[in-house]
């Protein structure tokens, strides 16, 4: 097996934050991590002199490469060493086309610059940002060797998934003088002598790549000293101050996107404050549900917010006043006001929305495939087609009518305006009675809907890990609650006085300065979330912590790794066994989990995939920290420097307080049983 890192940066380009290459650090990286081959892959640039210098200075094969901005992603392109002169000039051409970090080349340009792509190793960012999209992958499919991923979790996923490319995991490091913490991000390949062709063959075969030297896809390396972890569930045990939490912290720093549940982090300290925070968190977590529940009401509020009933009444009043006044002003009648068009009203234009929707519905009936049989049973397709034709004709007719009326209305309006300018007679103000009646109808329905929305009732309940999350709607009980809802200092005192009359209340909300219009619908119904325990009662402080822990663990699916430090410090054994263990075990099928524990309920019952024992040892008066690790069935746990510990001793010491205590406990239980 050979270890390779084909993604290394040695030149600070426009796509990097500034750094200065340090050859000594590169040598140390090679030595410490034991890599057998590297490739130099800078962003859109290749420096042949630097490459030659590196090649001559290190003891392992170095391959020339480049990281190309292609379409929306990045692509590693690695060449054979004997192609160096050609590769250098091709890279110079590429460099001339990229002068800003946002610049990129297309797949055609890539082919144009590098010509025969089959000569290279092509490794796109596959499950790593910036990711190459499906289209580009398809266009380059014939030339792509493997795909780069950015976590062991993704590596394992690609190995399992038949459709995925061969995954590769590289350091993507910038080698400068500050590069002292060496990442364990390399890939092992099952390759004999290191040649370009041999490596390329390995990279095309999932069976020939792995994250671990010995255990194939079961483990992966986490530290540069060779320490490995299982891709599944790892348990770290050890006495106090033996370096368990230190190890977790180190893992946390070595990887990105890691979920870390620290010791005691979920335990309540101030019951009142913690309960409030818990409820807030619960509401935030379910804000999507709140939004979903109020979605339809939001549309109603947005529509009604623009209706001004007072203005409507005023327009009716103005119409009547002007009409009556005009009718009674005989003395002011002149040639202009006597003209029939002076009093002519504009046409009420229909919007044909209903007819349009009807046509769309019939169209839907004609085109629906899923329920074709049922539709055909009741209505014939010919009948529906005849119907749609007639409706369309009707639409055409009405639309024609509407356009004519529209034209006439414009004309009447223009003439009226001219006549009005020349007369002293009162001008009759127009009113749209249909629109006014419709607005009143809208307000009436809005009032009813608002009443329904705030009715006290359960709108959702779902079971989550033995708890029940319940959402309820109710009325806001005062201006204070509205203020909390707004998460601002806005006063709702005046508005709340109208809370019982939804339309009036909406007008009051509109008059509040700085209250976003898009949020009005939030202030009609209070939505609260509650967590109930398995007996249906509101949860206690302890149960809240349990729920939090389970939620935090479940949330880990989104992360690359989950670290948990001594959950037993805060929870009882039954909960750990029935709740936590079950979920952790499940999560570890997809996400590597590292659990630090002293508890046999957790450590032994959970049946880990990998066991690690942290030890503080005094050797010749010096303190040495060491990790012994291995599979649970291994007789001995090994440290990376070759020392051994008997597995049974570790298990007995850490979980049972030693063999003697274990025996005594057994006798106590036996006596109790008798």
């Amino acid at each position: 097996m050979k270890k390779i890192d084909f993604h290394i940066h040695t030149i600070s380009t426009i796509s990097d934050s500034s750094f200065s290459f340090n050859l000594d650090q590169l040598k140390e990286y090679i030595q410490n991590t034991g890599v057998d081959a590297i490739a130099i892959t800078n962003h859109n640039v290749f420096d042949v002199d630097q490459f030659r210098q590196i090649s001559a200075s290190v003891s392992i094969p170095v391959f020339p490469g480049i990281e190309v901005n292609i379409e929306n992603g990045h692509l590693l392109l690695i060449a054979e060493k004997n192609e160096l002169p050609d590769f250098d000039s091709q890279c110079a051409e590429l460099k001339s086309r990229i002068s800003n970090p946002e610049d990129l080349i297309t797949t055609n340009e890539l082919k144009e610059i590098f010509r025969d792509l089959s000569k290279y190793i092509l490794i796109p960012h596959y499950d790593k940002k910036p990711r190459i999209d499906e289209r580009v992958l398809a266009e380059l499919a014939a030339y792509i060797t493997a795909g780069e991923v950015d976590s062991p979790k993704k590596f394992i996923y690609c190995i399992k998934n038949e459709e995925s490319l061969v995954p590769l995991y590289f350091s993507d490091s910038r080698i400068d003088s500050k590069f002292t913490e060496f990442p364990a991000r390399q890939t092992y390949i099952n390759c004999g002598k290191i040649t370009f062709a041999a490596i390329r063959n390995c990279l095309r075969d999932k069976n020939k790549v792995s994250l671990s030297l010995r255990d194939g896809h079961l483990t992966f390396q986490i530290f540069d000293d060779g320490q490995e972890l299982s891709k599944g569930l790892n348990v770290i045990v050890g006495e106090r101050s033996s370096g368990k939490s230190f190890t977790l912290d180190r893992i946390y720093k070595s990887f990105s996107n890691v979920k870390y549940i620290r010791q005691f982090s979920l335990v309540e300290r101030d019951e009142g404050q913690d309960e409030a925070n818990f409820n807030k968190l619960l509401s935030q977590n379910h804000s999507l549900l709140t939004q979903e529940y109020l979605k339809e009401f939001q549309k109603v509020v947005n529509d009604v917010a623009y209706i001004d009933i007072e203005e409507n009444e005023e327009s009716v009043s103005n119409y009547l006043k002007s009409l009556i006044r005009h009718a009674k002003e005989f003395e002011k009648r002149d040639a202009f006001s006597k003209a029939k068009l002076f009093r002519e009203e504009e046409f009420q234009l229909s919007d044909l929305k209903g007819l349009k929707e009807l046509i769309a519905s019939v169209q839907h009936l004609i085109e629906n495939i899923e329920h074709r049989n049922i539709i055909n049973k009741h209505v014939s397709c010919e009948g529906l087609k005849a119907l749609i034709v007639e409706l369309m004709k009707e639409y055409q007719k009405k639309e024609e009518e509407r356009l004519k009326k529209c034209w006439l209305s414009d004309l009447i309006l223009e003439i009226k305006k001219k006549l009005q300018m020349r007369t002293a007679a009162t001008i009759i103000e127009d009113v749209n009675l249909y629109q006014i009646a419709m607005n009143l109808e809208k307000v009436k329905k809005f009032n009813n809907t608002a009443e329904m929305v705030r009715k006290d009732r359960e709108i959702m309940h779902k079971d989550i890990q033995g708890f029940k999350v319940v959402a309820r709607t109710s009325e806001f009980s005062g201006a204070g609650e509205l203020k909390s809802e707004s998460k601002s200092k806005i006063s709702f005192r005046l508005a709340y006085q109208a809370y019982r009359e939804p339309y009036k209340y909406l007008q009051e909300l509109k008059s509040i300065e700085n209250l976003p219009e898009a949020d009005y619908y939030h202030y009609f119904a209070k939505i609260q979330y509650q967590i109930l325990n398995k007996d249906g009662y509101e949860v206690s402080g302890g149960e809240r912590s349990e729920f939090n822990l389970l939620q935090e663990i479940s949330d880990a699916q989104r992360y690359e790794m989950l670290l948990i430090d001594e959950p037993e410090s805060s929870f009882d054994n039954l909960f750990l066994k029935n709740g936590v263990n079950v979920i952790i075990k499940e999560i570890s099928k997809n996400v590597p989990v590292v659990l630090v524990t002293h508890s046999n309920t957790v450590g032994v019952s959970i049946k880990p995939d990998y066991l690690m024992c942290a030890k503080k040892e005094v050797v010749d008066g010096e303190i040495e920290y060491r990790i012994y690790s291995g599979f649970p069935a291994d007789q001995a746990l090994m440290s990376t420097d070759g020392k051994k510990l008997r597995n049974i001793d570790v298990t007995m010491d850490c979980f049972e307080a030693g063999k003697q205590a274990y025996g005594e406990r057994g006798r106590v239980y036996e006596d109790l049983g008798n």
Partner: protein, 103 residues
Amino acid sequence: MVREGGCMKILEIKDSKGFFSSDGKKWIPIDEIDKENLMNLVNLVLESSVEMDEYNEGSIGHQAHQIIYKSIHGKLMTLQGNKDKFRDESDRLYLESIEKYQQ
């Protein structure tokens, strides 16, 4: 006056003058109509079956009544012509919302 079949008359021409009624019994001269009266007539047109005397220039001698009657009659007739559309639109109004929250 409520006609057979529940049809109520709301606009009438009598003695060369125009009148309106919100109950079919009490008739008020058209030039005394106010906004509440007009809104009542709007509701009657949309919610029940109503009848209105056709406007005819020769039938109303009173010039002021002529202008007011013609305008209001025209508006109410337009509304009556759109009654089905109004009902359709009203029935569909906020339907999704009502169905969701009334459960």
